[in-house]
Assembly symmetry: C2
Homo-oligomer: 363 residues x 2
Amino acid sequence: MSAARVRGQVRIVGAGLLGASIGLALRERELDVILADTSRANLSLAIDYGAGRPAAEDDAPTLVIVAVPPDLVADVAAAELHANPDALVIDVASVKAGILHELAERGADTARYLGTHPMAGRERGGAISARADLFLGRPWVITPTEITTDEQYRTVEDLALELGATPVRMTAEEHDRGVALVSHVPQLVSSLLASRLRKAPDSAVRLAGQGLRDTTRIAGSDPELWVQILGANAAPVARVLHDYRDELDEVIAALEAPAASGSPRRIAETLAAGNQGVARIPGKHGRDERFSALVVKVDDTPGQLARLLTEIGEEGVNLEDFRLEHSPGAQVGFAEINVLPEAAHRLAEALQARGWTLAEGER
Amino acid sequence: MSAARVRGQVRIVGAGLLGASIGLALRERELDVILADTSRANLSLAIDYGAGRPAAEDDAPTLVIVAVPPDLVADVAAAELHANPDALVIDVASVKAGILHELAERGADTARYLGTHPMAGRERGGAISARADLFLGRPWVITPTEITTDEQYRTVEDLALELGATPVRMTAEEHDRGVALVSHVPQLVSSLLASRLRKAPDSAVRLAGQGLRDTTRIAGSDPELWVQILGANAAPVARVLHDYRDELDEVIAALEAPAASGSPRRIAETLAAGNQGVARIPGKHGRDERFSALVVKVDDTPGQLARLLTEIGEEGVNLEDFRLEHSPGAQVGFAEINVLPEAAHRLAEALQARGWTLAEGER
């Protein structure tokens, strides 16, 4: 692609999920991507996967992306700033203020460092899970300081845009408070809930339904990684948990005297506050925000569905995701078609012209 | 169906999601289903939907199913026991011990009452959301007492089996402790978490990802219903929340002194305990347990997918659910086909014979 916003050699240190995904995406744009990793096995895998090439003597990267585990970021970023005196060095770790502080303590050239955090991930890590589209439609936080130049900021903004992400400008402190609330506290709340199941009787656990599955899904996350993240953002996380604990105490008190005046109201207030809080989360729940969804009514027969897909193909529209909800008894199903937003309107009109009925809103 | 396990007239009181879904399923089996509801509008809707017929003078139900909101169950069950002196009266509410206690207090004929709880639901309630297959593959808890006869137990067991559910025998107290852990506490934990988002800055909320969405999804539940459920099961819920709060306090203390000896270990222990707890939850996370999934590799073109669906139709297998995961860059996609378990093996062999590649395990 000649219109690529990112130019020059890019060096990525750390060939895990994020590093390899960035590498894959930049290689698709035919950039020269240098990969480094302390693990030879990780590095070979990421190179085999097409995420970049090994380092060479005369490399001169203009941009270095540090994508190592949180505890190692400051050390590696300091070393990269030293080894590449003309490069802008950025990182992609999920806590920001502490790294800048550590770099300053080490006497690193922080004028060439810029902290960033792409809000993307998968349940499984490693280069094996890397995807070039990992960042599509996701926020990519960039945390400039007073000494960050416009050119430095634009370089990282261009990187985020090139990878399909949405750049979000924040201070490191704003970022850390934000992720404490929307990511780190949910992780602990989920782990604490799942922790209760360890010694539960089998008869209780077998009653588990989708509500428990959803609330505990992230309790399956890697403890080693999360101890690092939580340790690096301890104060903002503790502040949110304090408020959480105070409200929890009130709910426990109400449950211990359920017939007392005010107890039902106290419980109702927490449930209503939960309703209000969840309504603030942008995007449809459980949906992939990168795509637009069309919902088409189909008779509940395989032939109908095949015809629908054939006709979508004839319209030249590529399906990004597809889901059928089948409701026995009703004799109709609803096919949810996910396409790129720019194709959605045209496809909707074409399908209606071909006689299909489109349903409105969420199913 | 001549082999129907449930016989005689069935009277359902309460034409909401559960009542109307039971009605739909029993009507599919050509049983005589009588519907009652204090709301004329609810009743008409459920009858229009095909869930049963209005009550008549000479009705003589052998089974009465009370499917009203939790706070009303004891009153309605007592009235139904009185009005139908030969019928077995059951309820489907999500808390059990209190109802039996209240019925005894009212002097009702508890020898003809049996408490049950089908562990099924949808996010939206009402007859409009009813489905005949709501109970398929779900546990249906039955809580007999010392005076419950084998015949009474078998009647309810047959109802559950007829509707595709798995009967689970427990005492009312075991049930209430179990649902406190796997349903009621998760609800409060999720509401308390979402409650934190109410006053959060927009800049924080826009960083929300799938982890927050999953952990707060059930925080969108109906406060009115949940105040009743939590009030009816207050003591078991409070006991679980006490343990939760104690571990939360330890985590907060560790986060307030993150560099102190033992703090990282304390946090790691909660994360590891969460791993262990979540591993105990039966079934695949986020999957529909009623069906078997086959994963078929498809070239990432609409024509391929249409061919796959056509061929599944030619094999005479009905798709229950279907999902395409599309991974740009890889040039292949994976179609997850959900079919009834009894059809899965045959379809897998047929597709392989037709040249399709089936992937193993989870994607």
